[in-house]
């Protein structure tokens, strides 16, 4: 039905497999600690992008919950 479901399942398996692949220790997180490696390093960019695309497309969601609505005619 939804072609994306298998893709997401593969990614989920990759996550579960990832636990067994490499457990990164706290002192090995130099790269992960960089600002550029944060999931939402620039929240204002995210906010403005969400506002534009939720106004110009009908699909939304995925990244989080809440955030507020607008008339956006």
């Amino acid at each position: 039905m939804h072609r994306a479901v298998p893709l997401v399942l593969v990614l989920a398996l990759a996550v579960l497999g990832g636990c067994a692949l490499e457990r990164v220790q706290p002192w090995e997180r130099d790269v992960l600690a960089r600002k550029s490696m944060q999931l939402d390093a620039y929240p204002l960019d995210t906010y403005l992008d969400e506002h534009i695309y939720s106004s110009k497309e009908t699909a939304r969601g995925g990244q989080g919950v809440g955030g507020g609505g607008c008339g956006c005619n």
Partner: protein
């Protein structure tokens, strides 16, 4: 944070890095961070918007912060009203009933009386709820002259597996009030009758999130989310119209659109961040579907080229394919056909949205940053749907929407 002398180095390192995982900003013990952005958005021949945003964040400890965000948004220009183009000029009455506007022959009707100012305030509080559990609580309010929105949300995140895995759960509730200019139009009623309901309409939005973030290696992070949204109440756009056309494709009347009063939305979202030396690939994919029949897939790719001195250049490509339109989307309605719900709003149609962008960032004093983002967006759809009757067969029923976006960011830590 005061560490006891007896704490092992292993434990101390674990504590020191406790906020280095998914979704958490790099550890700052305490301090202020102020970020400001201003967005200029301009569609060709349509909407222009200027949107300044200021966010002030106070970090109390590594895991606790309070952030306040204020937004002002000014929009002017013209927006498609939903009616079809014709071979002769068409005259429409504005939603207020006080003005008229005329669309030239063979052009998609745009309502030029469109204007809006919006103000929004949101407050976010993040705090630890245990050694491996933290919560983020948000409240927001926004107001326009014809729309108000307020809501609350809570997101909990729990770390496992030496903080290599984070499970996230969230809930939000939003209550919106719609107060259209000129009153609430009766759905499917002829616009010339000006049938209006006095008072306001309401809309509720309930959303839930389940997510997992996994550190895959020293240089790769993966996030998977599922979000569910339930919208209920007045989901109609009070300013959108639908043309009723005869066999020759000429409008015999124009009616107000009407949408269902419930909508269940689903999104599966995956994002990965991978470092290649100093550079970072940020890739995300979203699959969206809802019970209005809409399916959409969105890919967003960003590659951050990190230069010496902290400068960076980040090209971006976003592509979204709305592959299935809403069941009740009809660019026009043949005369004599009866429907319970219908909308000609192009945003519910089958279409693609493509954005090319680039961001350039420069570090400033005290760990701040100045950045410029520019983007070009184009939306394309079905210009000439099969079976369009008479004169509609030669009209462009879905002219491209083209927009440029210019955004300036400035952030300061102190």
């Amino acid at each position: 944070m005061q560490l006891k002398k007896t704490v092992s180095i292993h434990h101390a390192l674990a504590l020191a890095s406790c906020s280095l995982l998914a979704g958490v900003q790099p550890a700052r013990a305490e301090g202020w961070e102020t970020s400001a952005s201003i967005l200029y958005y301009s569609e060709q021949d349509r909407v222009q918007a200027i949107e300044p945003v200021v966010r002030v964040k106070k970090q109390f400890s590594e895991d606790e912060h309070l952030a306040v965000q204020v937004v002002a948004d000014a929009l002017t220009g013209a927006s498609p009203n939903g009616a079809v183009p014709t071979t002769t000029p068409q005259t429409f009455t504005s939603p207020s009933g006080e003005k008229t506007y005329t669309t030239p022959a063979n052009e998609i009707p745009l309502d030029p009386t469109f204007r809006d100012e919006r103000y929004a305030l949101s407050v976010e509080w993040g705090r630890p709820l245990g050694r491996t559990l933290r919560g983020i609580f948000q409240g927001h309010f926004s107001g326009e002259h014809d729309y108000k929105s307020m809501g609350l949300s809570a997101t909990l995140a729990r770390d496992f597996n030496t903080r290599n895995t984070t499970l996230t759960g969230g809930l939000s509730y939003n209550s919106d009030e719609v107060d259209p200019v000129g009153g609430v139009p009766v759905g499917l009623s002829d616009t010339t009758l000006r049938q209006r309901i006095s008072g306001t309409e309401n809309k509720q939005v309930l959303e839930a999130l389940l997510g997992v973030t996994q550190v895959l290696s020293r240089t790769t992070l993966l996030q998977l989310n599922y979000t569910f949204g339930q919208d209920s109440g007045y989901l109609t756009d009070p300013y959108k119209l639908v043309s009723i056309v005869d066999a020759g494709g000429n409008p015999v009347s124009i009616v107000h659109e009407k949408r269902p009063e419930d909508r269940a939305r689903h999104a599966l979202y995956a994002r990965t961040l991978t470092a290649f030396g100093r550079d970072v690939l940020n890739a995300s994919y979203r699959f969206y579907w809802d019970d209005w029949g809409v399916n959409a897939q969105t890919v967003d790719l960003r590659y951050r080229l990190q230069f010496s001195g902290g400068h960076y250049l980040e090209p971006q490509l976003r592509y979204s394919l709305q592959s299935s339109a809403a069941d009740f989307y009809r660019p026009y309605l043949p005369q004599g056909e009866t429907v319970e719900v219908v909308s000609a709003d192009y945003r519910l149609a089958t279409m693609t949205t493509t954005t090319f962008g680039v961001k350039y960032g420069i570090p400033t004093r005290r760990d701040g940053e100045f950045a410029l983002r520019v983007g070009y967006m184009v939306q394309t759809g079905e210009d000439q749907p099969a079976g369009a009757p008479g004169q509609l067969a030669s009209q462009d029923l879905f002219p491209d929407t083209k927009a440029i976006m210019v955004q300036l960011n400035y952030s300061l830590l102190f």
